[in-house]
């Protein structure tokens, strides 16, 4: 394989860095994680001329090399580790023409790292509207770099950039200026002690050492003489450095950039006046939320029905066209319904991420954070917790990952801990089937049905419990953390279709292959456990039942045999073992199995019941009819009545039944302490509430 040019894309958030990445790589990209941490790692391949290829890495957005978050730290570790496999041949710093001054701060830092650097000035299409003109040759000279003026929106200037990347060896590696001249005494001593090392890199290692104790120092070991004694001393030095850099940038831009204020038109101010308004701002946000819910629960029902039918059909066709036997049964009763259980969630997840990425791309999300911060803070959360809590209504996994940009650790931890209470998509099938069983299908007045009101109540309950427990955790947790909150309010943009589409595809793929594996594995395990038994009671089911009920019709006989088999299968014995625990909640051993399997993932509940009630096809009506016919052995009444139904709904609303979420919380908090606390607290709480409600309603 020919050598690829390794390119790192670096830039502030909101500069269109991802658009540039998408333009360079197209769909030729993959998203993974950096080893051990859940910082998204995006890489892709870009074809240059004559068979030369560039391997592009889209590094997390950062405002400077003085990292204050995990995402930003990734950038520094990668750029300092010269021996690392991702160490770039060339750094491409993406900036936004409207925020050039701020964006150049990071650029001057990158230039100090001794890496060939290209400056991309993006959003060139906005220059005229904003009255901006640039003297590119002068800027190139002053900044000692090559500049690619591009418009990612219009796809202009990309070829220019590709050419620059290809000729990276001719790029300058010298710093723009001496940024560390503000403390000659200290830095002079430092350089004398390590004559072979780059001074700026030494300085970065020292500063990161204060903030991230585990920082890998590579081969530089810095003696304690040079350690900065206190955080405030460090900050004073960093402040001086920042001022120094801005002085340089201001001088350069004074010559190279002119803004004609009169030509500038301010869409931003007009939109902000409405969207951050004390009344209309909230009103519009609420309207958008309603639209999202409408899309997730109404619009997505059409593709979901189609998927459901398609899988039922597939199961049927496979069954009739293949010879019968245990292997075919596994495919038709285990694997196909299992796959169907994953694919059915795709429309909802895609809709959610469609909306979230449109809101983020347009710049509106920052306004939501601005509007909600004050309200959320009362509960120990941050304005930035709104995005995770909204995402939580699709799935807690991306929601937990979305907490990463909350700077304050305590607010972030509380958000992570309470997000699993929000009603995720996986709870929906459980809610739907139980509600249709126990809540009368009648209307109050003209519009509102009891059933849809119950569903809405469950959503509010989930959100309310999340916020309530946040308030409680805020009182209990004694974590000292600096309260700071800075959020950039980017200019409004029409979302780029390509960016939105790629984002939706990536996120949906992550769900299908991440959560999907677990769901499929469990469906198969369940099927095996339900299809085999440990003793003769299971194997001789047919003879036993036929002898006992000689007068029954074939259909009734088949049902009796199936349930007899289930009772003596492996899963039947397991269910019987836990029946005493769940009986006080109004459940029998079959529901008990459903709950146990749900601890892997909630969405398997319905599938489990389908398997357990030995319904061949996955059609909901059939499962529902079976469930409605179930009799409680103790009371003699129907098993699913109002009391046990409500108890089950509340159990699912509160219990922590998702291994994937626990795993992601472990990764994000870097300890088993928090996921275990979630599991134990939420399960006990769920059990307690379900118990009380059942005993009262019984």
């Amino acid at each position: 394989m020919a050598k690829q040019i390794k390119v790192s894309l670096i830039g502030n958030p909101n500069t269109g860095k991802t658009s540039v990445f998408n333009l360079l790589t197209g769909l030729n990209q993959q998203v993974g994680n950096y080893p051990g941490i859940t910082v998204e790692k995006k890489e892709g391949v870009c074809k240059l001329s004559r068979g030369v290829k560039a391997h592009i890495m889209d590094l997390p957005g950062t405002y400077s090399l003085n990292a204050s978050s995990l995402d930003e730290n990734v950038v520094i570790e990668l750029l300092l580790n010269k021996k690392g496999k991702d160490y770039p041949d060339v750094a491409v710093v993406v900036s936004d023409v409207e925020n050039l001054k701020r964006n150049l701060l990071l650029f001057t830092q990158i230039k100090d790292l001794d890496i060939p650097t290209i400056l991309v000035i993006n959003m060139a299409d906005r220059m005229r509207r904003k009255g901006i003109s640039l003297d590119i040759p002068l800027l190139e000279k002053e900044l000692k770099t090559k500049i690619a003026l591009i418009s990612a929106r219009k796809g202009e200037g990309i070829d220019e950039l590709k050419k620059l990347i290809e000729s990276y060896t001719s790029l300058s590696k010298t710093p723009c200026f001496d940024a560390l001249s503000f403390a000659p005494d200290y830095f002079g001593r430092l350089q004398k002690a390590f004559p072979d090392q780059s001074l700026y890199k030494l300085w970065l290692v020292i500063t990161q050492d204060v903030n991230f104790r585990k920082f890998d120092k590579q081969d530089m070991s810095i003696s304690s003489d040079f350690k900065i004694k206190s955080e405030s001393e460090l900050k004073r030095l960093q402040q001086k450095e920042t001022i120094k850099r801005y002085q340089f940038i201001n001088n350069v831009l004074k010559k190279g950039l002119t803004v004609d204020e009169k030509a500038a038109t301010g869409m931003r101010a007009k939109l902000d006046r409405v969207l951050t308004h004390k009344f209309w701002g909230y009103f519009i946000f609420l309207a958008i939320l309603l639209l999202i819910f409408q899309a997730i629960y109404d619009w997505s029902s059409y593709p979901m029905d189609l998927i459901d039918e398609a899988f039922a059909w597939l199961s049927e066709v496979t069954k009739t066209s293949l010879p019968s036997g245990p292997f075919v049964d596994l495919i038709t009763e285990g694997i196909i319904p299992g796959l169907g259980g994953i694919v059915i969630f795709i429309p909802q997840i895609a809709f959610l991420f469609l909306f979230i990425s449109i809101l983020e791309e347009s710049g509106y999300m920052s306004r939501v954070v601005f509007l909600m911060d004050r309200v959320m803070r009362r509960f120990g959360l941050s304005g930035k917790s709104v995005v995770p809590l909204v995402s939580g209504t699709a799935c807690a996994i991306p929601a937990v990952m979305a907490t990463r940009n909350i700077e304050n650790w305590k607010e972030r931890l509380i958000t992570i801990l309470v997000v699993p209470f929000t009603t995720c998509a996986a709870r929906l099938p459980v809610y739907l089937i139980i509600i249709s069983l126990v809540i009368p299908d009648e209307k109050i007045g003209w519009i509102f049905g009891y059933q849809s009101l119950t569903l809405m109540f469950l959503y509010f309950l989930g959100f309310g419990t999340a916020v309530g427990s946040a308030w409680l955790l805020n009182r209990i947790l004694k974590i000292k953390s600096k309260s700071y909150f800075v959020i950039e309010m980017p200019g409004y943009k029409v979302p780029l279709f390509k960016n939105v589409a790629i984002n939706v595809i990536e996120k949906t793929k992550a769900f299908v292959f991440g959560a999907g594996k677990i769901i499929l594995a469990i469906s198969i395990i369940l099927w095996v456990l339900a299809s085999f038994g440990p003793n003769e009671n299971f194997n001789n089911a047919e003879e036993t039942i036929t002898e006992l009920y000689p007068s029954l019709s074939q259909e009734e006989l088949d049902n009796k045999i199936a349930s007899h088999k289930l009772e003596y299968s492996f899963i039947g014995y397991a269910g019987k073992a836990i029946e005493p625990v769940v009986a006080p909640l109004g459940y029998d051993w079959k529901i008990g199995i459903g709950i146990i399997s749900s601890f892997a993932a909630r969405e398997v509940f319905v599938g489990t019941l389908a398997t357990i009630y030995s319904v061949g096809s996955d059609e909901e009506e059939t499962i529902k009819n079976r469930m409605a016919a179930e009799v409680n052995q103790v009371t003699g009444g129907p098993l699913f009545n109002l009391a046990s139904g409500i108890s089950l709904l509340l159990f699912y609303a509160f219990a922590m039944q998702c291994m994937s979420t626990l795993a992601i919380v472990k990764r994000e908090t870097n300890s088993w302490k928090w996921p275990m606390a979630q599991l134990i607290f939420m399960s006990i709480f769920a059990y307690g509430v379900a118990l009380i409600v059942y005993q009262i309603l019984k």
Partner: protein
Amino acid sequence: MKTTIATLKRGQRALIKEITSDIIPLKLLEMGCLPGNEVELLQTAPFQCPMYLNINGSHLAIRKEIAAQIEVQII
């Protein structure tokens, strides 16, 4: 009473005087909140928090308690 960003009224412009407090995050400085730079209060959420500012051409929002640590001179 000291004049700080927190005491600005909507639409008021001011120059940042001095940043001394340790609680000002470095990130804010890096976004342009440095002595001598101009700041304008664009909008506040209910109860004056957070505050939506234009500092040195950067549009950002910060909480009131941090805004109260940044001394300014109204222009």
